[in-house]
Each structure stands twice: as structure tokens, then as C-alpha cells.
């Protein structure tokens, strides 16, 4: 029995309406998609044995593995999978957390018990990724709902899936979720008999629990505790490159936006942007603020996506160089005034530097940036803003100059690339920079349909180049994923950016004799 501690419960076990990462951790253990991401970032078959797309680029044929059973012992049929995907296609607003994965699907059928066929409206490049999140849910549990509200109020705490673990009990109030090993799992059952997930409401108690052995694994170790945990006897601390990054957003909202953006127009000057980028010491941010738990960042596609396949390695980082930054501003005609702040006679280089209060690291980053900017004659007025108010000021209002914020991209680059498209700068959209480049928008559509992987890679690289050079975002650093486990009790974890508690890793774990 492996006892894992975390600080949040899954919000639900119903994939139609699940927003917390903890829910997806559990989905990965109890459900299966047709495919799944493996620790090296490539997609492998889960329910699917193989898959291929026809020459028309829109007809996908997927063969299932043999001997797949639901947790209640019934056989899984291809028609069950077709039903589950059709349910999402039919009512995208009911399936609010999965509907994006079925966007552009035209028809899903099951020609026989072991074959699924998907026809799409246009070529879909990231099909494998999408199929990994379209979980096979047990149709009899899901075919009785008549409205979005009914479906979404269904918590599915007694979920029936096909995954390597099955639900024993989930008591959300008490914060305890118990999974039993599914010994009939089609890829071979787990070596551990049970997984327990327990919610702790504060991180200190969680760490104490690992120390005294109440729990065996922590899914997310706070950065401040990482060094302490390393010194515990019988505990192994794991540090992996993560997916999250943090960036400095520079207001790039179109002048024609409605409402008109409120900002110091000097923020649009490419010379100012380059000077700002040159005045940021990313290594220092990582060393001082993050105590080394991170790595300097450059593009919006972190090196961990797709095992590194999507990250553009050719981008030349802007060197931290105060003298060079000063020269750029000198050459652009910005002269220091009596108070040391530069101006070109029209615009004074004084900007708001805001950040949401949600992240305890941001105030210190803001202070470091402001003191660097001061050395190049740029005045930054640092201000902490409540997260909701900042969201409202940013999208689609454009009332800001510079903002520190972060993203946790999906495994596929599509989502993080979409964040910088013009379409997303609307109420409820994800764009915060207001970046609006017709060329970028077109490339975004192109990469969605580029079935050929290396062709898509080229487009994705080009898009990273554009964002890097236009600087709606200056990516500051990539976060690390910190986990820890009792190595005196368990062994065999697979360490990867996906975490040591994914199904593929837990299937490999054995108790120390």
C-alpha cells in the first residue's frame, strides 16, 4: 500500500467537469484514453494497439488491444469508446473540460468490436495528444443525463474505468481516496495492492507526515522545503524539469482594441523592449529568488514538452548586459532626465510593474527587476494586485504596462501557442499580452493541420521565434517539479517531467523487501 499526500482533493472523478490537476492524476490511474503520454514525452497506445491516418489526412483508424475489461468485469467494446467520444461531440458545453479535445471531429464510429474510426473536418495534427484526454467512461453511468447541470453535478465517485487502479472509496470531506490494484489490467496489473491519497491542508504537516512515515510520497514539494527533505533518512527527493514557466508580459494590445489600451506607449518601442530584456538577469532570479530550483527561460514552449521535440533550441538568449541595454536606449534617443529616468522628450520611461498576489515569489522578482531597470534609466512602479482584479485589468481591457505572471502549458504546444493569438484577446479568452500578429495567427492554424510532425515542428519553432523577437512575453524561467518518496519502502519509480506518480511509473513500483 502506497500512501500519497497532497494539498488538494480531485474536484470530481467525472471527466466532463474536472479542473484540478489532482483530478487528472487520478484519471490517469483509473481511466484510459486511446493513447497516453509516456515519460519520454512520446505518445504510446493505451487502449489502442495501433493507429493510422489515411491519405486524406482526416480518416483515422484505431485498433484496440485485446482483453480490455471494465472494472466491473465486463468487456470493453469499441462501441463504448465511440459512444464516449460522441457524447462529447454532441454536447460540447456539457463536457466543459474535454470538449476542446474533440473540436473538429465529424464522425466517430466502431465498425467492429476492436476498431474505432474517427473522421475529422480538417487534418488534426495533435490527434495522439487529444486521444489521451478523451477517456473511455462507462456508458451506462453517463447516458442518463438530460442537461449540462445534471451531468456536471454527477461526481462519479464510484467511477468504473479500465485503468490499472480501481476506486475503493473516495470520501472527499475526509480528504481520503483509496484505489485498489486492478489485477486484470490488460497491460499487466500493478505490484502494489493499494494507493491511498490523503489531503493535507498545510504543507508543513504534509512534510512532517513524510518524515515520520505517515505517508510515502508527496506529489508536490514546496520549493522552500526541498533542501530540508533531502536530509531526511529513508527519503528520496526528486527534482525534474517542469512544464510551468513565468514571464514578464509587455503590453502589446492593438491601438484599435475596444476599449482602447491604457499604457505608457513607450512600452511598444522595440528598442525599449530589447533594453528591458537585456537588463534582466535570469540566472540571478533563479539563484536568488528560487534558490536554484528552476532554470532560465527563453521561449514559451518549455524544453519538457514532447520530450523536447517542440522547444526551439536555436533561440539565442538575450545576454544580461546593463551597458548594452543603456547603449540601446541612448541610440534610440532616450536621454536621462534630472531624476535619472530616461525620456525621448515625448514619453518618459516610467512603467507600472504589476503582479498577481497568488504567487509568493513574484514580489521578490518584481523588486529585482525594478532595481535592474533603474540601472538603465527605466523606472518601474511595483504593485501587487489581487488576481481577479488584475485579470480584469488585463483582458480584454489592456490597462497595464508590464505584468509578471505564469503558465502551465499542456503536453502539446497547441494550447500555449494559442494564448498569443489575436482571437484569444476577448472576455474569457486566454491572451493577456494582446499580441496581434496576422502572420502568427496564420502559423497557428497551419500547425494545427500539419499532420507531418517535422513540418509541424518547423512551424512551432517559427512561432517561438516570433514571440521571442516581438517580446509580448519575456520568458523569465522554467519551474522545476519537486517530489519526494520513502525510498526505504518503495522502489522502481520512473522519474520524468510527468511526475513519479503517473500510471506508467506506479505500474513499475515495488515495495522494498
Amino acid at each position: 500500500m502506497l500512501h500519497e499526500g497532497w494539498t488538494e482533493n480531485p474536484d470530481t472523478l467525472n471527466p466532463a467537469y474536472a479542473y484540478l490537476t489532482q483530478s487528472y492524476t487520478i484519471f490517469d490511474l483509473i481511466y484510459n484514453g486511446l493513447t497516453t503520454e509516456s515519460p519520454d514525452g512520446k505518445y504510446v497506445g493505451a487502449l489502442a494497439k495501433d493507429w493510422s491516418v489515411a491519405a486524406d489526412n482526416v480518416t483515422w483508424t484505431i485498433h484496440l488491444k485485446e482483453g480490455i475489461k471494465w472494472h466491473n468485469g465486463e468487456d470493453l467494446k469499441a462501441s463504448d469508446i465511440a459512444w464516449a467520444i460522441n457524447a462529447v461531440m454532441e454536447h460540447p458545453d456539457w463536457w466543459s473540460s474535454t470538449s476542446n479535445y474533440a473540436n473538429g471531429f465529424k464522425e466517430v464510429t466502431a465498425p467492429d468490436d476492436h476498431m474505432v474510426q474517427i473522421v475529422t473536418e480538417y487534418p488534426i495534427a495533435n490527434m495522439e495528444y487529444r486521444l489521451s484526454f478523451l477517456y473511455a467512461v462507462y456508458p451506462p453511468d453517463f447516458n442518463k443525463f438530460t442537461s449540462a447541470e445534471e451531468l456536471q453535478n454527477f461526481n462519479n465517485f464510484n467511477a468504473i474505468g479500465t485503468g490499472p487502479f480501481k476506486i475503493n472509496v473516495f470520501d472527499k470531506d475526509k480528504g481520503i481516496l483509496i484505489l485498489d490494484a486492478n489485477q486484470d489490467y490488460f497491460d499487466g496489473g500493478p505490484h502494489i495492492d493499494q494507493m491511498i491519497f490523503q489531503k493535507f491542508d498545510n504543507a508543513d504537516a504534509l512534510i512532517q507526515a513524510l518524515k515520520v512515515g505517515d505517508i510515502d510520497l508527496i506529489s508536490e514539494v514546496p520549493a522552500t522545503a526541498f533542501e530540508t527533505i533531502k536530509s531526511y533518512a529513508g527519503v528520496q527527493a526528486v527534482k525534474e524539469d517542469g512544464r510551468y514557466f513565468n514571464e514578464l508580459i509587455l503590453n502589446s494590445v492593438a491601438e484599435t482594441n475596444d476599449p482602447a489600451p491604457k499604457r505608457n506607449p513607450a512600452i511598444l518601442d522595440p528598442a525599449v523592449r530589447l533594453a528591458i530584456a537585456s537588463a534582466i538577469n535570469k540566472q540571478d532570479l533563479v539563484d536568488v529568488v528560487l534558490q536554484g530550483i528552476g532554470s532560465p527561460g527563453d521561449t514559451i514552449v518549455p524544453p519538457t514538452l514532447g520530450g523536447g521535440f517542440w522547444h526551439n533550441p536555436n533561440i539565442q538568449e538575450v545576454k544580461f548586459d546593463i551597458a548594452a541595454a543603456n547603449k540601446i536606449l541612448d541610440d534610440a534617443g532616450y536621454k536621462a532626465g534630472a531624476d535619472g529616468v530616461r525620456t525621448d522628450g515625448k514619453d518618459r520611461l516610467e512603467f507600472r510593474l504589476q503582479f498577481p498576489t497568488q504567487n509568493p515569489v513574484y514580489p521578490r522578482i518584481a523588486d529585482m527587476l525594478a532595481s535592474n531597470f533603474q540601472q538603465i534609466g527605466i523606472k518601474a512602479d511595483v504593485e501587487a494586485v489581487d488576481t481577479d482584479s488584475l485579470t480584469a485589468a488585463v483582458t480584454p481591457t489592456g490597462d497595464y504596462d508590464m505584468v509578471i505572471w505564469g503558465w502551465g502549458p499542456d503536453p502539446d504546444p497547441d494550447f500555449i501557442l494559442s494564448v498569443l493569438t489575436t482571437d484569444q484577446f476577448i472576455s474569457g479568452g486566454w491572451s493577456d499580452s494582446g499580441y496581434h500578429s496576422p502572420e502568427y495567427d496564420q502559423l497557428y492554424l497551419d500547425q494545427q493541420e500539419a499532420i507531418d510532425k517535422s513540418q509541424r515542428q518547423q512551424i512551432v519553432w517559427k512561432m517561438q521565434d516570433m514571440v521571442f523577437n516581438d517580446r509580448p512575453y519575456i520568458v523569465l524561467y522554467y519551474e522545476k517539479l519537486l517530489q519526494a518518496y520513502r525510498s526505504d519502502r518503495f522502489t522502481g519509480f520512473i522519474e520524468s517531467p510527468l511526475g513519479i506518480d503517473i500510471a506508467q511509473s506506479l505500474l513499475n513500483v515495488t515495495a522494498v523487501k
Binding site: 500512501h3 474536484d11 470530481t12 467537469y17 479542473y19 484540478l20 490537476t21 460540447p92 458545453d93 466543459s96 473540460s97 470538449s99 476542446n100 449540462a148 447541470e149 456536471q152 453535478n153 461526481n155 472509496v169 470520501d171 472527499k172 470531506d173 475526509k174 480528504g175 481520503i176 483509496i178 491511498i196 490523503q198 489531503k199 493535507f200 491542508d201 498545510n202 508543513d204 504537516a205 504534509l206 512532517q208 507526515a209 518524515k211 515520520v212 505517515d214 505517508i215 489581487d386 488576481t387 481577479d388 482584479s389 485579470t391 480584469a392 503558465w407 502551465g408 499542456d410 494550447f415 476577448i426 472576455s427 474569457g428 479568452g429
Partner: protein, 325 residues
């Protein structure tokens, strides 16, 4: 005024207060900045604007706050329905009831220990003023009252789990999670030791200090001198004339504390991952879950009002002056 009239009038005022609280709650949460749909779904998901809009419609947020949302809410309340939590997707009433029981167990135990120990210590300290008992009780109480809740909780958690093998969190062990609480009392008890101890220490000081000053004041009264002059023993004077009169401020304090501790155990519940109302309030607020927030604050208001009412009722028994007026 008869006691009945007095109580009826108090009851009337209480009901009025509840109604005002309901209205204020409705307004208060809606003037907070931000978008509840975004708060519920978080930032790192791929929810299209259309789907967000669908959720907004489902929650009734597409309609104007007044009169539509207000009338909807009032209509639900009138039918005794507190609505369904947006973030937890369960009826608010069920959630609150489940957590209330747990919080009452914790608060109840903690308060009982704190009251009994606090009153006894205060009485002793006041009675034996300037003795070693007084000085040490006073020092201890001042420290206990001043110590930050969170800090004390963490210290006790670390010490208790390392040296005594007490649980680091939760209300029962995972193995007992499917059983009803009454069937696993020893396990529940083990989980309650540290949070109860923390709560007791924190409130003990307050009760002791109030009791001490109150008894000192009473012991200086003329009727105490009279009682002594009648030849009663010190113990009789203290119990029959001192304690009853000195209890009045304590009753007020207990009533206030009981009302507020329904929410006030937030820190202790958070430190010990105890499944109670405190953490629920915090979650509801960060997720801008209006139905849950409204339900939670209604419960809070009602418990404060109830506690105050019971203090009023108790006063009519303890203090003859209340009856006379």
C-alpha cells in the same frame, strides 16, 4: 416585562438580524472583483469562452444581479434550499451539515476543557492573589493568549507526531474512512488529541484572565465582607457568593466565543487538516462560490446570534437585574 416578553423581543430582533445578514451577504460577495467562473475553473485549463459562457448561464450569472439573481436566491431560501455549490457540485446544506458536526466536536471538546481549566485556574489565582500559584497561572495564561495559533499548532503537531506517534492530519485513518464516526471512536480520539490540546491552550488563557479579574472585583464587594462577617468559611464565601457573580463576564465570553469559533477554528483545522467548517469557508471564498459562501455565512450568523440569545436567556437566570428590567 415578563421573561416571556423579554425573550420574544430578543427572538424578534434575532430574526431581523438574520434577514439583514442574508441581504448583506448577497450584496457583499457580488461586489467583490473577479469572475466566479474563472475562479472555479482556474487559469491553467483549456476552457473556451463559449463553454465559460455556458457555465455562467448555468450558475445564473448571465442575468442582472438585481432583480433576477436576487429574487432567484431569495426564492430558493424561502423554500429552505441553500442551492448547489459551484465548486463542489453538491447541495450546500449537505456540505455544511457534514462539516458542522466535525467542527462542533472539536470546538466543543476544546471549549469545555478551556472553560473548566480556565475558570478553576482563574478562581485559584484570584483567591490566592500574589501567591506562586497566581504568578505562574498568570504568566502561563498571558503566553497562551498571545501565542499565534498557527505556530502553536505546528509545534504541537511536530512534537506529537515525532514523539508520541500521533497522526499528522485528518479526522480518521484511511482504513476507517468508510465507517461511521461513532464506530471508530478510539481512532477519532487519537486524531482529536492535538487539535483539542491546541484549542484548549489558546482559549484557556483568556478564560483564566477574565475569571481572575472578575473574581478579584467580586471579592472586594461589601456583600463578601458581610458573608465573611456572618462567619461563613472562605470556601463557602467563594462558592456561594463569589463564583456565581464572577461568572457573568465568563458567560458573555463563552457565548461570544462559541458563536465565533464555528468559523474561528480556521487555523487549527488547517494545521491539522481537520475536516471542518473553517477550511470550507476559506475555499468557498477563494473560489467565489456564491451559494456556498452565502450558506456558510448564514450558518455563521445564525450561530453567533443563537449563542448571544442563549447568553441572554442564561442572564435572566444568573442576574436578577435582567429580570427586574
Amino acid at each position: 416585562m415578563s421573561r416571556r416578553d423579554y425573550l420574544l423581543r430578543k427572538l424578534g430582533f434575532s430574526l431581523m438580524t438574520v434577514v439583514i445578514v442574508l441581504v448583506i451577504n448577497f450584496v457583499l460577495f457580488r461586489i467583490l472583483p473577479g469572475d466566479p467562473v474563472r475562479a472555479v475553473i482556474g487559469r491553467n485549463v483549456r476552457i473556451s469562452p463559449e463553454v465559460q459562457q455556458a457555465l455562467r448561464v448555468q450558475f445564473g450569472l448571465d442575468k442582472p444581479v438585481f432583480p433576477d439573481q436576487f429574487l432567484d436566491t431569495v426564492g430558493q431560501w424561502a423554500r429552505g434550499n441553500l442551492g448547489i455549490s459551484w465548486s463542489l457540485r453538491r447541495p450546500v446544506k449537505d456540505i455544511l451539515l457534514a462539516k458542522l458536526v466535525n467542527t462542533v466536536i472539536l470546538i466543543g471538546l476544546g471549549q469545555i476543557f478551556a472553560i473548566v481549566l480556565g475558570v478553576v485556574l482563574g478562581l485559584l489565582a484570584g483567591w490566592k492573589r500574589k501567591s506562586a500559584v497566581d504568578v505562574s497561572a498568570l504568566t502561563f495564561s498571558l503566553i497562551a493568549w498571545a501565542v499565534p495559533t498557527f505556530w502553536l499548532g505546528i509545534i504541537l503537531l511536530a512534537a506529537g507526531s515525532s514523539w508520541l506517534g500521533l497522526p499528522t492530519g485528518g479526522i480518521v485513518s484511511p482504513a476507517n474512512v468508510s465507517k461511521p464516526l461513532y464506530a471508530v471512536l478510539p481512532d477519532l480520539g487519537r486524531h482529536l488529541i492535538l487539535p483539542t490540546l491546541t484549542l484548549t491552550i489558546l482559549y484557556l488563557g483568556e478564560y483564566m484572565l477574565i475569571m481572575r479579574s472578575s473574581i478579584l472585583e467580586v471579592l472586594g464587594e461589601d456583600y463578601i465582607l458581610t458573608a465573611k462577617a456572618k462567619g461563613m468559611s472562605q470556601w463557602q464565601v467563594l462558592m456561594r457568593h463569589g463564583l456565581k457573580n464572577a461568572m457573568l463576564p465568563i458567560v458573555t465570553l463563552i457565548a461570544l466565543n462559541l458563536g465565533f469559533t464555528v468559523s474561528g477554528a480556521i487555523y487549527i483545522e488547517t494545521v491539522f487538516s481537520y475536516d471542518g467548517l473553517g477550511k470550507l469557508f476559506q475555499d468557498a471564498l477563494t473560489k467565489q462560490d456564491y451559494p456556498l459562501l452565502q450558506g456558510a455565512f448564514l450558518l455563521l450568523a445564525v450561530s453567533v446570534i443563537l449563542a448571544n440569545m442563549s447568553a441572554d436567556v442564561l442572564y435572566t437566570y444568573l442576574d436578577p437585574r435582567v429580570k427586574a428590567n
